[in-house]
């Protein structure tokens, strides 16, 4: 009896699976319509980084709602592929599938550096442009002439910050970074720039990536006699613990100033950081509180479509501007698929985005943009990164600096 039941259940399960597979086989059958241009987006849509994928998708939808889904006669369609964590082999497999099976004309997204690097040979062979919405290591765009990046790099954020700190008369600084690629990039960028401007980095602390106990490091910072710290940690629980330890161990009260790239105080994290974040000064390419007509329209449309703007942050504008670049490339090439030509056509292009003025540097194919110095303050009872100083036309200082 039970065996029969089991067989029946298994049969049902199998049937359901086949039914699930049905829609997947669908697209195989019909050839793609001539006037549809597909853009494949590879990003984390599930797992711990799902929020990033959500901001990408929302920004893309806002852009399409504002500008329509047509460029000329061509309809632009976005296809999403989930890559829940840094996994370059999987990134390559997904991108390959997008190119071979879905016949996408453009690749976009990519949150982690290795995932973006993995597609270099693919986009060169298939001659497809790849617009990076986030992955922030400078070296990426050197690996293929078909990469365009609309986010930021650590060098781009850190250099103006270090110069500003030196100008403020700060002389002794400790750098405290997480011990992984981006952290070390930040440390190098900071040390180089700050020392060139007459300051001294009295201690460079590299903290384990997954550490959440920062008390010993706080003691080390205090003992070093530094006036300020430059900190970089991956956004999320580690940053939260670090900011809290900074306040709890009395460093904040001792008058030590807290500086860092804006990843630390990204908007979705601010409510969890709470008052510990007050007074942290960061440099970044976008703040939700940016005061411009374009940003207000962007936020209003976002609120209209998704009910709130709580998730809007740097990755949102990275995607929003990335879609703008893709639209321009489609327009410039008249919908024809030629990656090298499409990328060439947007080199040097300038436009106004919700974050401020942008230009695609013809050499690095990375956006030259205004970097803002912001301090976390309460605005109408809500924590925001309030912009204080704007450093205009900042290029990617890390381009071809080497690893």
């Amino acid at each position: 009896m039970t065996s029969t039941l089991r067989t029946a259940l298994l049969g049902t399960a199998f049937g359901l699976l086949m039914a699930a597979a049905g829609p997947l086989l669908g697209p195989l059958a019909g050839p793609a319509a001539a006037a549809t241009i597909k853009v494949g987006v590879v990003a984390p849509f599930s797992g711990p980084f799902a929020l990033v994928g959500k901001t990408f998708k929302e920004a893309i939808e806002v852009y399409q709602a504002q500008h329509g889904d047509k460029v000329g006669d061509d309809t632009v369609v976005f296809i999403y592929k989930d890559l829940d964590q840094a996994n370059p082999a999987q990134s390559k497999a997904l991108s390959q599938e997008l190119i071979v099976k879905e016949k996408v004309g453009y690749l976009a997204g990519y949150y982690f550096t290795p995932d973006a690097l993995a597609v270099a040979p693919l986009i060169d062979e298939a001659n497809i442009p790849c617009v990076i919405f986030n992955a922030a290591t400078s070296a990426i765009t050197e690996k293929s002439p078909r990469y365009v990046r609309t986010s930021f790099t650590l060098w781009q954020n850190t250099v103006p910050l270090a110069e500003h700190m030196a100008k403020q008369g700060i002389r002794k600084v400790v750098s405290a970074v997480s011990d992984y690629g981006p952290g070390i990039d930040g440390e190098t960028a900071f040390k180089t720039t700050f020392e060139k401007n007459g300051g001294t980095v009295v201690d460079t602390i590299r903290m384990p990536l997954k550490s959440t106990d920062f008390a010993p490091f706080m003691q080390r910072i205090r003992d070093s006699g530094a006036e300020a710290i430059y900190a970089f940690l991956p956004a999320g629980p580690t940053t939260l613990a670090f900011a809290k330890a900074f306040a709890d161990n009395g460093l904040k009260d001792a008058g030590i100033k807290f500086f860092g790239p804006g990843d630390l105080t990204q908007e979705p994290d601010l409510p969890t950081l709470g008052d510990a974040a007050l007074g942290i000064t960061t440099s970044f390419n976008y703040s939700r509180a940016h005061d411009s007509a374009l940003n207000k329209t962007f936020l209003a449309k976002h609120k209209e479509m998704f009910g709130s703007t709580d998730s809007v942050t740097f990755s949102s504008v990275g995607a929003y501007d990335g879609v703008h670049v893709i639209y321009q490339m489609i327009k410039n090439t008249g919908g024809k698929s030629d990656g090298a030509k499409a990328v060439d056509s947007v080199k040097g292009m300038s436009w106004e985005s919700p974050r401020g003025p942008l230009t695609i540097d013809p050499q690095s194919r990375h956006v030259t943009q205004t970097i803002y110095l912001r301090t976390v303050e309460k605005v109408d009872g809500k924590l925001e990164n309030v912009e204080k100083v704007a450093f205009e036309k900042q290029p990617d200082y890390g381009y071809k600096v080497g690893k």
Binding site: M1, T2, S3, R6, T7, L9, L10, A13, L17, A20, A21, P23, L24, L28, F45, S46, G47, A50, G53, Y80, K81, D82, Q85, A86, N87, P88, A89, Q90, K92, A93, L94, Q96, E97, I99, V100, K101, T113, P114, L117, A118, A120, P121, L122, E125, A126, T137, A139, K143, D179, Y180, G181, P182, I184, L209, K403
Partner: protein
């Protein structure tokens, strides 16, 4: 639970077809079957070769775990240490010195085997949970070394720029992944043959003996630990080759390849397919990754929930894994033919 299911199905098969020789012959069919299924997939799903290549390389990795767990009874959550070492070794060799794909596989296998031999000799005196923790520790150490040695491994940026030469100097790794898949399939089939030879050799049987009853093996004059270390090293070679295969076919190695989640996922795939069967590793990997792929592409936002449901279903209805399904089916058929024997098994 798994053990009980397996024993039951084994006796079921043996009961239905008494001569053991027939069963031994049946086992061989699996290898050409994998090859034929792979080639069929090659013709039927020409647009999915990237996925199929990853399945083949992952199956090889899960196979290495099956050798350790299914035949040696070594509980491990650190098999990715060997996979990652193999992948990085092949990747570093490819970036700096050699580009022949077969040589790269050899480098990866050698590196995986060496690290397994060294760490195995250190940790295999432990058992159970202690051993489990030690294997996790080894995995984390390997991953941290890969993270620290940025000049060699690229750290968290990943090791890119692996550009292997054409296979046999004739077939280059193309955009559609044809060469990559056939290469991976060939490696998997050869590895299956070797693995089968190993588990049926006196050495393999001794390892199974250690798994069943280490005391008895010592009483017979064997050294359980040295058998296990040797088996661990052999499986390390397989894992290393799998890592190298991934490095060669994908052209990049990331820190995830030595990470804990990858070890754990391999274990899930193995249990899904069935432990101690070799083919279970292939079936489990193909089914898990295939379903993962179908669900993730039809709903990239909520697929994880469905995967969970599917796994729960398998554990409930096929506790011995999918590979045990055939045995259970034939047991079921023979039971139907002779209704009198049905009651006892439920």
């Amino acid at each position: 639970m798994t053990m009980a299911g397996r024993t039951a199905s084994r006796t079921g098969v043996a009961g239905a077809h008494p001569p053991p020789a027939a069963r031994r012959d049946l086992g061989w069919i699996g290898i050409p079957l994998v090859a034929v299924a792979g080639l069929a997939a090659f013709w039927l799903l020409p647009d999915d070769l990237a996925l199929l290549t990853r399945i083949a390389a992952s199956a090889l990795f899960v196979l290495s775990l099956d050798l350790v767990l299914g035949y040696g009874g070594i509980a491990t959550l650190g098999q990715a240490a060997m996979y990652g070492t193999g992948a990085y070794a092949a990747g570093i060799a490819a970036v700096n010195w050699i580009s022949d794909p077969f040589a790269l596989l050899a480098v990866g296998g050698l590196a995986g085997g060496l690290i397994a031999l060294v760490t195995g000799a250190l940790i295999l005196h432990a058992h159970g949970l202690t051993l489990l923790m030690l294997t996790i520790a080894v995995g984390q150490i390997v991953q941290e070394i890969a993270n620290k040695a940025r000049d060699w491994t690229g750290g968290s940026d990943g090791l890119s720029g692996i550009d292997p030469a054409p296979v046999l100097g004739l077939f280059r790794f193309d955009l559609y992944g044809r060469t990559a898949f056939l290469f991976a399939l060939a490696v998997l089939v050869v590895a299956l043959m070797v693995a089968r030879r190993i588990v049926r050799s006196p050495f393999g049987l001794a390892c199974r003996g250690v798994k069943e009853d280490p005391l008895r093996v010592s009483a017979l004059g064997g050294s359980p630990k040295s058998y296990l270390v040797a088996l661990y090293a052999v499986a390390g070679v397989f894992a290393g080759v799998a890592g190298a295969l991934t490095a060669v076919t994908s052209g990049i190695v990331g820190l995830d390849s030595a990470g804990f989640p990858w070890s754990a996922e391999a274990l899930v795939m193995l249990v899904l397919g069935g432990t101690g069967r070799l083919y279970g590793a292939v079936i489990g990997t193909a089914v898990f990754m295939g379903i993962h792929h179908i669900l993730a592409s039809s709903d990239p936002f909520h697929w994880m929930g469905f995967i969970g449901l599917f796994l729960i279903g398998i554990v409930l209805f096929l506790p011995g894994g999918i590979a045990s399904g055939a045995g259970r089916l034939s047991a079921l058929l023979s039971a139907l033919a002779r209704p009198g024997r049905d009651g006892g098994r439920a």
